[in-house]
């Protein structure tokens, strides 16, 4: 039973992940690619981690997974802003 839930979460996580990564290649502009990366990929990672947490031997590991996901979210959103700001600065200089 746990296997079924875990598989559903993990596979949907991978689908979102791949959607974001394909968006990275296909979308026309840096700014739209940033959207794809920070939204789709982080959501995919979260679903993947939920699926994995169901399999962990100790609850401490599941807590670690949650912490890592939160760190990726916070760092990812800040990094996306910084990258976009940097790109704007470059455009303004040219």
């Amino acid at each position: 039973m746990i296997d079924l839930f875990s598989s559903i979460f993990m596979l949907s996580g991978i689908i979102f992940f791949l959607a974001g990564s394909i968006g990275l290649l296909r979308l026309p502009d840096l700014y739209s690619r940033l959207h794809a990366l920070t939204k789709a990929d982080n959501l995919g990672l979260g679903l993947l981690l939920v699926g994995l947490a169901l399999h962990m031997q100790q609850p401490l590991f599941a807590l670690k997974l949650l912490l890592i996901w939160l760190a990726v979210l916070a760092a990812g959103s800040a990094s996306a802003h910084l990258i976009a700001q940097h790109a704007r600065r470059q455009e303004a200089d040219q």
């Binding site: 760190a71 916070a74 760092a75 800040a78 802003h81 910084l82 700001q85 470059q90």
Partner: protein, 322 residues
């Protein structure tokens, strides 16, 4: 199916490594090659994890992914598309090009020699691949070593002398950095986004450094990884515009730099005073001694990396406001 997918993963990782390394070396733009080098470090950390070497993967993730990129970018400077040599004197161009050809060929020769030596060593190990003598010796003596992580036991107990010499090498590296002069000019105070990032990232990095130091006794971790993480915290703080990043001046700085080697030597010599040989810990005290040495080593390693990022000696600033 398992074997096939593992082979596929391996092949993909190798392709990524090689293409990233090639691209990083052949781009003209210095900033671009540093970014590619950062990606290379990330993939390399995955490779170490795949090779079942979590200690090395930790070190690679801490140093290769974040720190070396920051170091190189700081060294290159902030100009976009800046190249390494800004030589604009054309009269010396012919002489320079001759000299640079010699330099290029010398470096190529040295790299080729290194590659040949490494390949020969690798072939030697293929003959001994079933020789488990070292692993057996380590596992037999693990309980006497004071820690339960075999990597830490080897680094800090069985081969402690090697680690002592490594720390001495780091100290001489810091002296080399000091010879470069004053530190680079500080960064502007961070905007709201970076400020918000630094506010939680720096404390989390420091906590993680302490965690890695503690967990190194029974799981992958240890002084080197903890020191690199601590240095990363200082780098973020500096990038956010903090001028001193908590590094003291003068005497205290010298104490921080030398405490790694110093404490190690102190412990080793006190073993001599106790009637044992140099760096031969009594099994009862071994765990505590290792923790003490690792803490000191973490501080020194972090200081070395931070000074490398700063680019020189803290007291004298390159451009003093008058």
């Amino acid at each position: 199916m398992n074997i096939i997918s593992l082979y596929l993963v391996d092949i993909l990782l190798v392709i990524s490594l090689l293409s990233l390394a090639w691209a990083s070396l052949t781009t003209a733009d210095a900033r671009r090659s540093v970014i590619l080098f950062m990606a290379f470090g990330l993939v390399l950390a995955l490779v170490w994890a795949r090779l079942l070497a979590p200690d090395v993967a930790l070190a690679e993730a801490a140093i290769g992914a974040g720190l070396s990129g920051a170091l190189l970018l700081a060294a290159i400077g902030e100009q976009p598309g800046s190249s390494i040599n800004v030589n604009t004197d054309h009269s010396e161009d012919v002489q320079d090009s001759n000299r640079s050809v010699v330099v290029t060929w010398t470096i190529t020769g040295l790299c080729a020699a290194l590659a040949i030596i490494l390949a020969w060593t690798l072939l030697q190990t293929f003959d001994n691949v079933n020789n488990k003598a070292t692993a057996q010796a380590v596992s037999e003596n693990l309980t006497d070593s004071g820690v339960s992580n075999p990597v830490t036991a080897v680094l800090l107990n069985f081969r402690a002398y090697d680690t002592l010499l490594e720390l001495a090498v780091l100290l001489s590296a810091v002296l080399g950095i000091f010879s470069l002069g004053g530190i680079r000019s500080p960064y502007q105070l961070a905007g709201p986004v970076f400020d918000g990032l630094a506010r939680w990232l720096v404390p989390v990095l420091m906590l993680t450094a302490g965690y890695l130091l503690w967990v190194g006794a029974h799981a992958p971790g240890g002084a080197f990884q903890a020191g690199a993480t601590l240095a990363a915290a200082a780098v973020v703080l500096r990038l956010a515009g903090h001028h001193n990043i908590g590094l003291p001046q003068g005497k205290s700085l010298h104490i921080i730099m030398t405490i790694g080697v110093g404490l190690f030597l102190l412990v080793g010599l006190s073993m001599l005073a106790l009637g044992r040989s140099f760096l031969d810990y009594p099994p009862a005290l071994a765990g505590t001694l290792i923790l003490v040495i690792e803490t000191a080593a973490m501080i020194s390693i972090a200081a070395t990396l931070v000074l490398a990022f700063l680019g020189g000696r803290p007291q004298m600033q390159k451009h003093k406001p008058c």
